[in-house]
């Protein structure tokens, strides 16, 4: 039996947890699994920040989950940029703040567009951290910032990768 892992999202002032989200759609509303067509971003503005975690719901006989790597594959529309707190160096755990759609101060690095060479999201505040029992990673924060000349949305894939040790 293997460890069971899911992706969660936190929203609103109450840090309401949506467990095991079905997508990471981004738009002009602070909701999980949002409808981007009904909630489009005005060109030149930003999506609401996303606050997400990787959660181990059961270890399933394994001893550790570690080496979390987060990246996006696929191009964004126009000259939009995708910002995040994920990074492979100078990492510091971030706390939850109600998501905003002004420029994020929490997500201040470009989202990797290929697999990072090492972990870029921490566990317990450290990139070298590991989960040895059910629990969650540090918060992944990300936001798409568009340009006034951008006229269409885009579809891309968020990758959440972990290693499991028996």
């Amino acid at each position: 039996m293997a460890a069971t892992v899911q992706i969660n999202e936190y929203n609103d002032v109450g840090e309401v947890k949506e467990a095991n989200i079905t997508n990471s759609n981004m738009g002009d509303v602070d909701d999980p699994n949002l409808d981007p067509v009904a909630n489009p971003v005005i060109p030149g503005e930003n999506t609401y920040e996303k606050y997400q975690t990787l959660e181990v719901t059961a270890m399933g006989g394994s001893s550790a989950i570690d080496n979390l790597k987060i990246w996006r594959t696929g191009a964004l529309g126009g000259s939009a940029v995708h910002m995040t707190n994920a990074r492979i160096a100078d990492y510091a755990e971030k706390s939850y703040v109600q998501p905003i759609k002004t420029d994020s101060t929490q997500a201040d690095q470009a989202m990797p567009t290929s697999e990072p060479v090492s972990a870029d999201l921490g566990i317990g505040g450290a990139l070298a951290g590991s989960l040895i029992a059910a629990g969650e990673s540090d918060l992944l924060i990300h936001q798409i910032q568009t340009d006034a000349g951008d006229v269409a949305g885009s579809t891309s894939t968020m990758n959440f990768q972990y290693d499991e040790v028996s």
Partner: protein, 67 residues
């Protein structure tokens, strides 16, 4: 560190007052609890098991390379 006030099971939309209660519930969408691999396989057409095997292979390979 998170401090959630409520937990919603995204697949079945049932709301819980604690994560412990969420983890123990049998999801109406899958028929399994969120601690069972079958829950995730049901939601991903079996892809979860493949992802899990790949994660285990990476972890074991790293463990061997450290020895």
């Amino acid at each position: 560190m998170t401090n959630s006030s409520k937990v919603t099971c995204s697949p079945c939309q049932k709301v819980f007052e604690s994560n412990e209660a969420y983890l123990k519930h049998k999801c109406a969408k899958t028929g399994f609890t969120p601690t069972q691999p079958e829950h995730f396989d049901a939601l991903s057409n079996g892809k979860f098991s493949l992802q899990s095997k790949a994660a285990l292979a990476r972890g074991e390979a790293r463990k061997k390379s450290k020895k």
